[in-house]
Every structure is written in structure tokens, then in C-alpha cells.
Subunit: 379 residues, 2 copies
């Protein structure tokens, strides 16, 4: 399959938020849809009358754990598990206008109406003053985008066509590149939460893309580890971890010429998989055409292996660890952290006292056994 | 109320695990129970025939996040939400022998039959060898104890009598002191997980006490923050945070002569409360008699305020942050972290991609508003 560049159409929703359509240039399957033909402009007019939103979002510095916490109190009223016929991510029709104007679509990205971060965020006018000798309070600048994988409400990422998966990867890379250029952005995070067990409030297949105004605390710890490793060994920590897993093989779940997926030796979650490209790159935009093509197949394979372990749609979090927008890009190493919170059918691995209170994870499933179970799934 | 020392009875369960009864020396309410009178020895014979358990538990060093992860795969088969009439924490009767021999009791502590940490833990004999240039693999030494707050299956901590709450506090302090003396212990953690939403597998009112073989990563971060603050200001970080909250008052939820409870300015959870003694002490054993008495009343008040916010039994985690057993005891400052994962009735604040993947918490409820809601509860 020769990869071709997606067509990008940009528009604005009724309240001014940006929206982007990513269309493959393949011939459309059905002539009855009003998806524009290749090269034809899309109708991107949002016919709703949406009141403008005011995003009051702030970040606060916690001096005890030395990390930022975001407070986004306007999100408390966000859409919560609407009925299937009231889904805001389904295509707009003449009868019902949704978040996505213009009829059927392939992949769409738009700014979240209830964002945790926004370039327009303001600190609430609540009279609260924090003790400046301990705390910092700042606007929750940044951006939160929704990425919709399909206009089919009942689809899942694991059932997308290979072409569609490629389009999603192209959209992730394009949005990462664009958001890294925003002055408010320090790190871009592409992720998918799947399953109500994880708190997903919309069942339509979608993910999210966050542009954080800071380098997240997890990434800071990882990069500090890499810095120390570099100083003492002269090598890249993530590359050494990948080489070690490939050499050992015991925990490798899937691999192809450009990517290897393994259960980490110190996995925190019952089913946790890390997927690395063989070549050290900072982020998705830095991957090559052949790497992106090879990624699509293995990514979907991993999702299907997860679903296959217990023969059910596994609740999961798929989190792309990318380099910060500006800092430490040579230390970072793009990888996916994919994990399920289910330890057995109907048994969720909850983060209880030890994990949430003390940061000590207790995993009930040995990483080697999890790798066995994931490998044993017939696809 | 004059505090009196609890009576301690020690025994062993059929498979060799230790068990301790903590009895008040107050006259018992009912002569029909077979609770021994003050000074009378308890019958502590476990009449079951229990096979000995083998605890294969290990900890693995994650070189990327620089923290230990525990793998305790034998726990996967632990008791999961048994029927009420099959509860292993109810008192033994002639008809049914449970984990707790000897009839009615007040407060009982015993070693968990499915522990994540044990002084007898061994690394599984699975042939797995981790790359020594990156990983460390060690026995999951330590100890996991269950603390049962009442023999009434349907009780909750918030409904315990003041005398019973005192007894629980005495038991926490006594077990912390004893476990700190084990050579395997680096930190003792007393906590309660309440509610199936948090993964509680037994509904009988109980908590847990962990003796960790390492100082947990959360505590290490906190102590490092305190060390830096001490160097730059000469003062204790936690004392400064407490003084700042008491001075401001905006987020204070409850207070008495010896303790103050407040929603932290950078709260991660919808309803999170930190409770500090006014005097800097490293752990519960270091509290004075009057401090323990004052603790009981405010602790129960906080639980009732949590339950009152939405008029339902709030799922919560109550986590006691205590000093390590040996290190940095002068930097640490005992405090309770009490938080609910419910952001609204039937809406759980799940740790999704941003929190679990990146360590960036997004809180939907402003700390000041949470404090208002908690204060507004009529008790």
C-alpha cells in the first residue's frame, strides 16, 4: 500500500472553535454520501446557534508533590453518556445538528466544547488568593481537541479499516506538529480512553489530543531518568530498554520490521503494553512514511489482542508518550503505553490506597504471564 | 473522656498467621457475648484446618519511572465480594468458622491470607531473569495486615462509637510501632478503602495496614520537597502549608484544638481533605493521648461530611502519610489524606489518560467549592 497524504479541510464551529476534516484521497465507497470527491471542498458550515463558551480553567502548583494540578470546574456539567440517538459526535443530518457539520466524514478533529485547557482560558474571578510563598496559580492555557475515528457510532478503533487507521495516524502527527507550534504548548498528548470503566462519557469512537501548558510530571520523571542514564552510560535509556526486551523476547507481544511491542518488566497494570519504534524519534511527526504504515498494522493488532484476552471489549487507555515541544527532544523516545484496567472479566484493577495514596502499584498478573495471554490470542 | 490503654491479646491462625485482638477495658454492653471480661484471656483458638499459604510476591525496579512495582500474582484468586452470610471477617460461630476465631470482638488485626507483602515472600520460581543493567528483582518482603473495625457486618467507620474509634486509633498506632521494628519494614501505611467503586472486595468494615519494604515513591517525592524547603527557608514545608491554610481559612473544613482539616489548594480529587495535627509528629505512635482523643472526633466528622455531600455512602480512600521507619523522620509530618473518587452521584472521577498516562490531574471541582460543600453538610 502506498501511503498518500490526507486532504485537510479546516473550518470553525458556530462558537468559533476550530474543526478539521482529514479525508483520504481514495475513492469514496458510496456515491450516496455527500462526502466531497477528492479535491472537492467540504461543506463546513455549522448551522447551529451556539452561545460562546467561557473557559475558566487554571493550573495550581502543588508544593508538596511538586507538580501542577488543573482545576477546570466548568467541566462538571459536560455531556455525560447521552443516548445513542443524541450523540454529539455522529454526523449532522438535516434533522439533527451535532458537533460535526457536513454529513458523513472519515476522521475529524475539533476543539472540545468543555476543555480542560484552552488558549482562551481565564482564572475564575472568585476572589481566591493563594499564598504566594507556596503556590502558583496560572491560566489553564493549552488546548483540548477531540479526534473522531469514524462516523459509525458503533465502530471501535480495533475494527477500523487499515486505510482509516493510517488516516488517524496522519491526523495525530499533523495535530501534534500544529499544536507544538502554539506558544502556549509545552507538550502534546494523543490518547484514547475506551470504556465506561475508564470514565468515558461518550461511546462514539474517539480519542483526545491535549496540548499541555507544561511538561507533565510523568514525562519529567522519565526524562530525568533518561538524562541520568545518558550521563552514566552514554546511551539512551529507552533504546536500552527496547534492546533488552527484544533480546530477551520473553515479554514481546508483537513485532514487525519497524516496531516492537512488549509488556514492560515492571508493568503496573494487569495488561500493559509498550510499543516502540526501532528508530529513536521524538514524536509522531518525526516518524517516516514506512514507520507510519508499519504502525497501523501493529497498533490494531495490539488492540485486538487486548480484546481477545477475555473475549470482550477491554476498557483501555492508549497513551502516546511524545517529546516536549521544545525541551529535551534528543532524550525523549516516542512510545505508546497501552493498558487495560481490567484484571479479569468484571474485575477492575482499581487504584486504591497503595497506588493512589502511596504511588506503590501492586500488579496481580505477572508481566510474563500477561505477555503469554496476549500472545495466545488468535486473531 | 479519660483514655485507657486497650487490652491486647495475641494469637495465631491455623496457618500460622498472627492475629491481635484490641479490647477496650470498658464494661461490655452485653453479658450474652463471650467477650472476656477485662483482664480475662480471650479464647484465640482457630479451629479451622487451613493449608499453609505460599506467598510469591516480588518487587521490580522500573528504571524509567525510577520506582518499585510489586507483582503479587497469587492474589488474583483472592476472595471477591462474598455473600453477606459468607463473610470471612464476621465473628466465628459454632456453625461457621471465619478468619476471626473466638466470637464477638471489638477491633481485630490479622495478617492477610492473600498479602502483597510478606516476611516470608519468595520470588516465583519461574525462570525469569531480568536484565541486571536495567532492573532489580527482589522478594516482596514486608507485611499486609487487615484491621477490622467492628464485628457488625453492616457498620461503617462513620457510625462507630467514639470509644470504638479510639480503639482503632490505638490499634493503628500500636501496629505502626510494631511493624516499624520489623527488619523488613521501611514504611508503615494505615489506610481504608471504602466502596466497591474503589475495588473493595469485602464489604465488612475494615482497613489495611501495609509494612512496605521500601519508602514509597510518593513519600520520597514529598520528603524531597520538604528537604528543599528546609534548605531554602529553614522551616518545615508541611507546617508552612498547614499554617497557610489555617491563616487563610477559605478551605478549612473542620478543626479543633489539636487538628485542622482542609481541602488542599491543589487538590487532585473532587473531594479531598488533608488532616494535620497542629504539632509536627512523624507518625501515629508519636501522638499524645490528648491528640488521639481529639483525632477520633474530627476523623469521624470528616467521614460524615463526605457522606453528607450527596447524601450517600461516599466511596473513599483514607490514607495515613507517616514517616519512614528509619529515614527522614524529622522532615516528615503525619497527616491523613482522605479523598472520594465520586465527582457527582453515580459519576466516578476515573483516572483516565491525562492522570494515569501523564500524571496531570484534572479536577472538575474547585477546592474552595468542595470546602464549601463539605462545610455545608449538617451533621
Amino acid at each position: 500500500m502506498l501511503r498518500s497524504l490526507p486532504q485537510l479541510t479546516a473550518g470553525r464551529l458556530a462558537d468559533g472553535r476550530e474543526i478539521f476534516w482529514f479525508d483520504s484521497d481514495l475513492p469514496k465507497g458510496s456515491a450516496e454520501t455527500d462526502i466531497g470527491s477528492p479535491g472537492q471542498p467540504r461543506d463546513v458550515t455549522d448551522r447551529r446557534h451556539l452561545p460562546p463558551t467561557a473557559t475558566t480553567s487554571e493550573r495550581r502548583w502543588d508544593p508538596i508533590l511538586r507538580e501542577w494540578v488543573t482545576v477546570a470546574s466548568h467541566r462538571q456539567t459536560r455531556t455525560f453518556l447521552p443516548a445513542d440517538d443524541d450523540c454529539p459526535l455522529c454526523p449532522s443530518t438535516d434533522e439533527r445538528l451535532t458537533e460535526i457539520p457536513g454529513g458523513p466524514y472519515e476522521v475529524v478533529v475539533f476543539e472540545n466544547r468543555f476543555p480542560s485547557f484552552s488558549t482562551r482560558a481565564t482564572v475564575p474571578d472568585d476572589g481566591v488568593t493563594l499564598d504566594a510563598s507556596l503556590y502558583i496559580r496560572a491560566e489553564g492555557h493549552g488546548r483540548c481537541e477531540v479526534i473522531v475515528f469514524s462516523d459509525d457510532h458503533s465502530a471501535t478503533f480495533a475494527t477500523l479499516s487499515p486505510e482509516r487507521v493510517q488516516l488517524v495516524i496522519e491526523a495525530w502527527a499533523a495535530r501534534t506538529e500544529a499544536l507544538n507550534c502554539l506558544p502556549e504548548t509545552e507538550q502534546v498528548f494523543c490518547f484514547e480512553n475506551r470504556g465506561t470503566e475508564i470514565g468515558v462519557t461518550l461511546s462514539h469512537p474517539h480519542g483526545q489530543i491535549y496540548a499541555y501548558p507544561v511538561v507533565t510530571s510523568r514525562t519529567q520523571v522519565m526524562l530525568e531518568s533518561a538524562r541520568r542514564h545518558q550521563l552514566t552510560t552514554g546511551r539512551n535509556l529507552f533504546a536500552d530498554v527496547l534492546a533488552s526486551e527484544r533480546h530477551d523476547g520473553r515479554r514481546v507481544v508483537a513485532a514487525n520490521e519497524h516496531w516492537t511491542a512488549f509488556v514492560p518488566a515492571a508493568a503496573r497494570w494487569p495488561f500493559e503494553i509498550h510499543l516502540y519504534p526501532h528508530r529513536q524519534v521524538p514524536d509522531l511527526p518525526a516518524t517516516s512514511d514506512v514507520e507510519r504504515e508499519a504502525l497501523g498494522a501493529i497498533y490494531v493488532e495490539l488492540l485486538r489482542r487486548l480484546d481477545g484476552v477475555y473475549g470482550l471489549e477491554m476498557p483501555y487507555i492508549a497513551a502516546w508518550h511524545q517529546a516536549p515541544s521544545r525541551a529535551d527532544r534528543e532524550l525523549a523516545y516516542l512510545h505508546l503505553q497501552l493498558f487495560s484496567i481490567l484484571r479479569a472479566p468484571a474485575k477492575v484493577k482499581a487504584l486504591a490506597g497503595s497506588e493512589s495514596g502511596m504511588g506503590m502499584f501492586i500488579n496481580d498478573i505477572a508481566p510474563e504471564r500477561a505477555a503469554d495471554m496476549l500472545r495466545a490470542v488468535s486473531l
